[in-house]
């Protein structure tokens, strides 16, 4: 019997290696796998490259992971936001590498990685400093830059429901980066608010098929998120 449901955070985090590239789902707090990030802090892997839309807020979660010196590089679209204090400190001190990627390019680079597309062209960032050093090319009279797939070792995603085959659904705008990140990593670990029996999720409405998911951990996020 296939059973991707793990019973403990330790099982969920087992085997994440130093030097890994880790994708972290969510857009702000919504769809962010808070408990899995805490699990990663506990687990100990270091020298990480983290990919997330934001560079953490306050001194918890991703910000805490950075503050502990465990993040070598961050790839994101919106590093500086209200409360990104840890990022700003570390970045100013030269203790953190930064790669800024336009939000849609970031999403598409991960989708490409998941879809076996090593590179693609986009008009986004053409004529800006973010296109510096990138190959450019004209198609039908318009200029595009070539962008590369962004593949990862691990993805931490947050979902609403999950089953033992790893099928996931997301709730409203909590979907955001999560399905794309699930495709792009060798090991996708999902925290889910609800465990479903196999077949309970309507097959037409599975948002991330289990083929993209390795481990599912049940997390009760409490009444505020129910």
């Amino acid at each position: 019997m296939i059973n991707k449901i793990v019973q403990s955070m330790a099982d969920a985090m087992a085997g994440i290696k130093d030097g890994s590239t880790v994708l972290i789902g969510g857009f702000g707090a919504v769809g962010q796998p808070d408990q899995l990030i805490e699990g990663l802090i506990e687990q100990g892997a270091t020298d990480l490259t983290c990919v997330a839309n934001n560079a953490g807020t306050g001194r918890v979660g991703l910000a805490r992971l950075m503050e502990l010196g465990r993040v070598r590089k961050i790839i994101c679209s919106f590093p500086r936001s209200a409360g990104s204090v840890v990022f700003e400190e570390l970045y100013r001190q030269g203790k953190l590498e930064l790669e800024i990627v336009p939000q849609g390019t970031m999403a598409e680079r991960m989708r490409a990685a998941g879809a076996g597309v090593p590179a693609f062209f986009t008009a986004t960032s053409v004529g800006t400093i973010l296109a510096n050093g990138k190959e450019q090319r004209d198609f039908n009279g318009r200029t595009y830059v070539m962008e590369h797939a962004l593949k990862a070792d691990v993805a931490l995603v947050e979902a609403w429901e999950g089953d033992r085959w790893g099928n996931l659904t997301y709730r409203s705008s909590g979907r955001n980066f999560n399905p794309v990140m699930a495709m792009a990593a060798d090991m996708t670990i999902a925290q889910v608010s609800h465990i479903r029996e196999l077949g309970e999720i309507v097959p037409e409405n599975v948002h991330t098929p289990g083929i993209f998911v390795k481990r599912v951990l049940h997390i009760d996020r409490g009444p505020a998120w129910a």
Binding site: F27, G28, A29, V30, G31, S77, F78, P79, R80, S81, F87, E88, Y91, L98, I100, V101, P102, Q103, G104, T105, A107, E108, M110, R111, T122, A123, T124, S125, V126, G127, T128, I129, L130, Y170, R171, S172, S173, G174, R175, N176, F177, N178, P179, V180, H207, A224, W225
Partner: protein, 213 residues
Amino acid sequence: MTGFDRKQMAARVAEDIPEGWFVNLGIGIPTMIANYVPLEREVILHSENGILGMGPAPAPDKVDPWLVNAGKQAVTLRPGGSYFHHADSFAMIRGGHIDLCVLGAFEVAANGDIANWATSENDSAPAVGGAMDLGAGAKRLWVVMEHTTKDGGHKIVERCSYPLTTPGAVSRVYTNLGVLDVVQGKGFVVRDLAPGVTLEQMQAASGAPLHTN
């Protein structure tokens, strides 16, 4: 000179959005535009984080913590709305399916260039978000912003001095002083003056020549 306040600027943009358009509204004054599109005029709002059919902010006791806009504020979903993931959301943007995007800006140039993400080349960690995708992908890019900086500096300029978000993308600018079209090969063309504002006043507040039709 009176001109528009922020709410009036938002309302003025809203007037020009026809029913049936798919519209992405940036953070700040652009977000306020939604408040001035009457619900019976169906304009479908898109949010980068995977929403079509966004509705107004909920009552404080009706906040759904799963449902936020691109500015991470609580919103609602209208009947007919839908959710999708980030790659699909930016496929809509990049693929030219969004009829209109309205952004704020630091500067807009006479050639349609927009600068709205980084205040200098030396700002080593600016936050770009989805601005470059929207600038390059939306069918139309309008800007709504104060006509000048707080200390009177020009934001309507001949050439942008800040790092560009997207070259040649802006087709219209709404400010507290009025409405300007950006016409290829011509530059800024005054479309409308705010109440109490004269063309001379608007020109004096602009760093590029203004034309009239």
